[in-house]
Symmetry: C2
Subunit: 323 residues, 2 copies
């Protein structure tokens, strides 16, 4: 057994911001007259598709590696992910002069493997139907003396992701509502810590794909609900359960968790491309889809919308929008 | 006969910048590590796909309408365009409290008609194979007392487009090369005026679609060469000839005109989407395609690249990238 990791607070988000200064992009807040007209209120988009490696994940990964004691950092990092966290860890490790080992399913898309390898990460393949990636990650950590940094269930990862809301609320302090995509809960928990501290009265809403509403169920039930891996085009939010560190933060600080169907994600991706000229991945469109469809009320309000990432290849983008 | 219109100079670009302040978006300069690595030099992108109406055309249209005497402006504007200039005139006219009449082919895409009408423009349809849009525009101007503002062959339109280079060279003064898409020559002529004034030693390069190299031929021959309407996916650059005001400016100030094939535009659009998360129309990718394919040398140099616009619907984007 390892000691339980501490729950991060606002000071940890501030410490993360200091570590990320000059390393992560401070993404600009974007607005759209057309979006505002549709929403009947003011929308403020935080485009983390422009973040390093194309997603907010860079923030948590870099913060977690930078926060390690020198010796542990030098010994190397291991993680398990087939998505944006893998690239984020590989990129951040390279920037911080250490080595990343990434446990990835053997059938992960070639483009994602290539991107991770391109940042200098060593990829270890596993079979997703017969092997347990967490177990492999832990074994590698133990055998090779590496530090395991999981995708969301980690205080420094959560604190790093919280800098998204810290920046947004610094640029636009008087938001009524903050809407955040939700998978394992790293981004939502971190953003909730920052937003609740900076603006105690703000309404904080997490958005899941309709097919995978474990977060909503967990909030209703008051404990972590695990569901079968959901089927949704939001491939960054296909987590069966919230993280153990993430859940109590979300339960304390988040007002509501809502869901949107995949069709609403496609509509939002089309809006982003055609009207705002932004290339957004399905998961990245979760919060916007909730606002555009009225699941989150926006009329007469000032609403912050986190776009979590833009990592979708054009072939998949085209096939999604053609359906 | 009307009196020939004067050739605009740098003071006109500065006057345009003053008129556009707070009205046009001052688009930020974007960079990409991956693009730099590919280019072997530093690339600085000016993303006019984020401009109002999704293209640089707003600058020239707004400037030309704002520069009119009050009485003429109040009487209304007419133009002919099936593309970005139509929306730009409609939007700028509405902002300046006057009315725009747009002569548009009867088979113009529904989306473009809707966008133009959405800005309050009155659309007059003509048959593109049997009627002459310039003639219709002139007749409407004369019958209704409207001022005709054509898409590129106009000094205030040219001066307005020149603010693109004025801003880029203010933000990045020490560019070695400036690369600009070329259709009728409004953007290239305006940018050349600003860039040559601010940085006399800069290399200024225009980029046309391979299928429509009338600009290159004109520069070689020393007079305006007219070609049949070219076939290219770069639908914003399908002009048969440079403008009469534009040509001498380009001949004096531009170093070279190069061409790129449509396939290179598609590759550049894919790069913009996947790596920079930008949604760019085919014409908007002309300058980048020239840099990415080596037609414009970038190794060891600092190169400014104008992205002219992002108005392509997702269905067409998908079908172009699927070919």
């Amino acid at each position: 057994m390892t000691t339980p990791l501490p729950r991060p607070g606002f000071a940890d988000v501030e410490a993360a911001a200091a570590r990320l200064a000059g390393k992560a992009h401070r993404t600009a807040v974007l607005t759209s007259r057309t979006a505002d007209a549709t929403a009947g209120g003011e929308l403020f988009f935080k485009p983390e598709n422009f973040q390093r490696v194309g997603a907010f994940k860079f923030r948590g990964a870099y913060n977690a590696i930078a926060a390690l004691p020198d010796e542990a950092r030098a010994a190397g990092i291991v993680t398990f992910s087939s998505g944006n966290h893998a690239q984020a860890i590989a990129c951040a490790a390279a920037m911080l002069g250490t080595k990343a080992t990434i446990v990835m399913p053997h059938d992960a898309p070639a483009m994602k493997r290539a991107a991770t390898a391109g940042y200098g990460g060593e990829i270890i393949s596993y079979h997703r139907y017969t092997e347990d990636r967490t177990e492999i990650g832990r074994r590698l950590a133990s055998e090779r003396g590496l530090t395991l940094i999981p995708p969301f269930d980690h205080p420094d990862v959560i604190a790093g992701q919280g800098t998204v809301a810290l920046e947004l609320l610094t640029d636009v302090p008087d938001l009524d509502t903050l809407v955040v995509p939700l998978g394992g809960g790293g981004l939502l928990a971190g953003c909730a810590i920052a937003a609740r501290h900076l603006n105690p009265g703000i309404s904080i809403i997490g958005v899941e794909p309709e097919a995978g509403d474990d977060g909503r169920q967990s909030l209703q039930q008051g404990s972590i609900v695990t569901i079968p891996v959901p089927h949704s085009i939001a491939d960054g939010a296909l987590t069966p359960a919230l993280g153990a560190i993430n859940f109590p933060i979300i339960a304390d600080l988040v007002d509501q968790i809502v869901t949107v169907p995949d069709a609403a994600l496609i509509d939002a991706m089309r809006f982003f491309a055609e009207r705002m000229k932004l290339f957004v991945e399905p998961t990245g469109a979760l919060a916007a889809a909730a606002a555009f469809t009225g699941v989150v009320p926006t009329a007469g309000r000032r609403t912050g919308i986190v776009i979590s990432g833009g990592n979708v290849d054009t072939a998949r983008f085209a096939s999604l929008l053609a359906d």
